[in-house]
Symmetry: C2
Subunit: 517 residues, 2 copies
């Protein structure tokens, strides 16, 4: 048994069963070890940014870490933007990064760089294995660290993969999270009983849990508090039968207006909300200065458990949560395709249990408004603002949940960052419908330019925000990677394509042309 074999066995024995890989020379022993290992699915990605977001999507849907396999510093850098998003989602990810052999690194060969320093940008746990014999124990520790909701990066010099190892190891497994004390629960209950304007702000852990969201709604009913979702949630359950949670708006002015008058904010596994970007003369923090902040539980703690105890403390536990009513499916409106039209058609056709990967950005509002009463589904959002997450997130979600339909709502400019994900959709036969929201612009930047005071941008500025000249042909791009595709310019065309895409299994791409009206 060599170090690479001990690593693969340790991963499988510790419950890491999927590896999103883009290997290179330094990872060849790992690749060779895969053939001898039962229970490890290896998914080839043609760019590391795809592998990182796929591991993120897998973790959001399973709660378990997948591995990425990356090639030295540049491979890790390529994964970096989507590792940033995974870091902000608070999900477990295990990066395995090859490096030069221990006795080769000091020679500063062309591919050498400071991998540990780079890894620390996104990782809560970083280690370079010293010997082949330590790889298994390092890997077990990395997996346990990841399970606490962080990115672990294990760097393997080539010799630690090829030298002899003694045995594999096994991670300890999930640990019971720290719980709030009775005094903490009582203090928050006391705040709620005051009856002053109170916001209960839910973080990633609470929003991913139906029980937590239901409990929060019961508490709101009992106390008059308002429940809000953090912006950019990693995962939310939505649709008919689910308890709807209003999200804090993204625009600073809207968010400040929504929180205006708040006397207390109860933070459920989330930090105090701040503006996504700063602007001249706009506030940085979104809560009123005199609002009091109360942390019910920290990120990574069990939000459902904490809310359940809080619910009992305020006598809310017997109430019935207010669930979204199913809305009669409206026939999609006719005319040129718009985000509202996409939303209407999708609300009509979405199968129960679908997973929506949301990088819709400026087109998202009207779509998600329409989806409120659709069949119950999960939503995965862009968590860290690093664009290019949607398409590869679908790879991980579909690998995690092969029995559920995955729908990607993908803005076109962002989609270009990691379009290589389409190839992996095709190779793995993943059941994903990718909807490209093709407005042929970095539309969000047009608004941002206005935000900084430029009302009429000049030719150069316009050129930096336009995706025209030439227009992207997403059907050709998809076909080029083996994914069937078609374009829709009207609601009727979109609805017909969507019907076809929902009936079949396997990847399909719809270019939703939003420039026809």
């Amino acid at each position: 048994m060599n170090g690479a074999e001990s690593l693969v066995k340790t991963m499988v024995d510790s419950g890491v069963e999927v590896c999103f890989a883009n290997p290179g020379t330094s990872e060849m022993h790992f690749v060779a070890a895969l053939d001898g290992a039962e229970g490890m699915r290896c998914v080839l990605c043609l760019f590391e940014g795809v592998a990182a977001a796929a591991a993120d999507g897998y973790a959001r849907m399973t709660g378990r870490p997948a591995a990425t396999l990356l090639h030295l510093g540049p491979g890790l850098a390529n994964a970096g933007a989507n590792l940033h998003n995974a870091m902000r989602a608070g999900v477990p990810v295990l990066n395995v990064v090859g490096d030069h052999a221990t006795d080769h690194r000091h020679l500063d060969a062309p591919l050498a760089s400071d991998i540990e320093g780079l890894a620390r940008t996104w990782s809560g746990w970083v280690r370079t294995s010293r010997t082949a014999a330590s790889v298994a124990f390092d890997a077990a520790e990395a997996i346990d660290a990841a399970r606490s909701g962080m990115i672990s990066t294990l760097i393997l010099p080539a010799d630690t993969a090829w030298n002899a190892a003694i045995d594999s190891a096994c991670a300890r497994g999930p640990q019971a999270p720290v719980r709030p004390t009775e005094a903490q629960i009582a203090a928050v209950a006391e705040v709620l009983r005051e009856g002053r304007p109170t916001v209960i702000l839910l973080g990633n852990g609470a929003l991913a849990s139906r029980a937590a969201v239901e409990e929060a709604d019961r508490i709101a009913q009992a106390t008059g508090a308002v429940v809000l979702a953090r912006n950019s949630a990693a995962r939310m359950e939505a649709g008919a039968g689910q308890v709807p949670v209003e999200a804090l708006p993204y625009p600073v002015d809207d968010a400040v207006a929504r929180l205006s008058g708040t006397a207390h904010c109860i933070l459920v596994g989330v930090e105090e909300p701040v503006a996504f970007f700063a602007y001249p003369d706009k506030p940085h923090r979104l809560l009123p200065d005199d609002a009091l902040r109360h942390q019910l539980c920290a990120p990574g703690q069990d939000a459902a458990e904490a809310l359940s105890r809080l619910g009992r403390a305020v006598g809310a536990h017997t109430l019935e949560p207010r669930r979204e009513a199913p809305r009669a499916a409206r026939p999609p409106e006719q005319g040129p395709l718009t985000p509202a039209g996409i939303g209407a058609a999708l609300a009509n056709r979405l199968p129960e249990g679908a997973i929506i990967c949301d990088e819709a950005l400026t087109s998202g509002g009207p779509i998600f408004e329409a989806l409120a009463g659709a069949a119950p589904h999960s939503r995965l959002k862009l968590t860290g603002g690093a664009i290019g997450i949607g398409l590869p997130l679908s790879v991980g979600a579909a690998v995690a949940c092969p029995e559920r339909k995955v729908v990607v709502l993908q803005a076109d400019g962002s989609g270009m960052y990691t379009l290589q994900a389409l190839w992996t959709q095709a190779r793995e036969g993943l059941d994903v419908v990718s909807v490209i929201l093709s407005n042929r612009a970095y539309a969000i930047l047009k608004g941002e330019l206005r935000n900084v005071g430029v009302e009429t941008p000049g030719e150069k500025a316009i050129g930096m925000m336009s995706l025209r000249d030439p227009d992207l042909d997403w059907c050709a791009l998809a076909n080029g990677m083996g994914v069937e595709a078609a374009r829709a310019g009207t609601v009727a065309e979109f609805d017909a394509l969507l019907a076809r895409a929902m009936e079949r299994r396997g990847p399909f791409l719809i270019e939703a042309d939003l420039t026809c009206d």
Copy 2:
């Protein structure tokens, strides 16, 4: 004048005239400032890895820094792999990276990360501007630092762009490089006069200079020394009339054999050669242990000047350099397309002064053999081993030299990393012929797997190295980004397409199908 305007004026006044940009919200003031600035060409790239390699290609052809415009930490990370290559090429690059406003960063908003730490992975110079008034001076210093052959990264918190600045500044301009002392020259001349087996190893600076290469050849003729080029040179001049320089082979065994028996190695602006990767039981250093190393000049020093003085010291300066003879253009052989067939056709059709961006990898050998006697041309290679450089390098080379034809020789697996470069080729109307060497595999890894002792890989390992299932359709991918394209499966088809591509101006892609024989 705000900070962003003072930055743009400082860049233009300091000779930075091109910006390869992928802006976001935090860079909106910079984008707005472009409209008021004469003399700054802004080239939109749809992924930051394209911007970084474009700046590299521009610098290799002009010797001057271009700027990149990147969006916070994730944008910089996306640029990282090709910044690694630029770092290894020793070229000047100015990164301008937006960040959150100074008084917003401590709030750890979703897009926040340690940009300075990340930037140090590749940059010789890193600074975050403290105030709008200091932006111009920081930029001037960054440009001067870049000009010494490194990457400078200037991080601009949004408020330093929008607040009022006093004035612009101007970089000091290129400084005279440090020259070797007479004693250093005399010592190396003494070594050469010994007459023992001596290798003169040329680095990036020498190889890019016709004068330096000619001088090295004169010295070789006078002393019996052998001139070799470092592996992975940033730029070389080749073809008929040029002095050919044999490159040190990439495979460790071949390189060691080539250097076997060397008593002295004269390093001309390059470090001692080491193996690209380490392998069990293979050497790390390529020179014999008992060979003596002598540094004529350091990287960044003026190699042509040092070699010229050395040439006079050994009495070589009157000799005529041995130039490559033009070879009669052979009609391309018939039959299925092979790298040799591509080389023959290209040798025949290459116009004088063409620039070849070489990421041919495993297909490169026979192509470059055929190109030895072709019309004189420049070659830009993959310097740092971070794949995905070829297509975007062509963007920078074509922007730098609009009057020269650019040819990319691009391996298919690597090409997928930064295929977004094709769109910028189309938007800017760049005169680039992209030849995709489509062997539908990470072919280099097949050899590497053998190198680590695996003779018959299993199904999983094969799956990690195959780009089949589904096959990539590069013509569709190119068309999807507005680039005309066609496929060739025979030498005759390839030659006909190449003829057409050479006659026209503007981007064209040929998918060279190497799987037909």
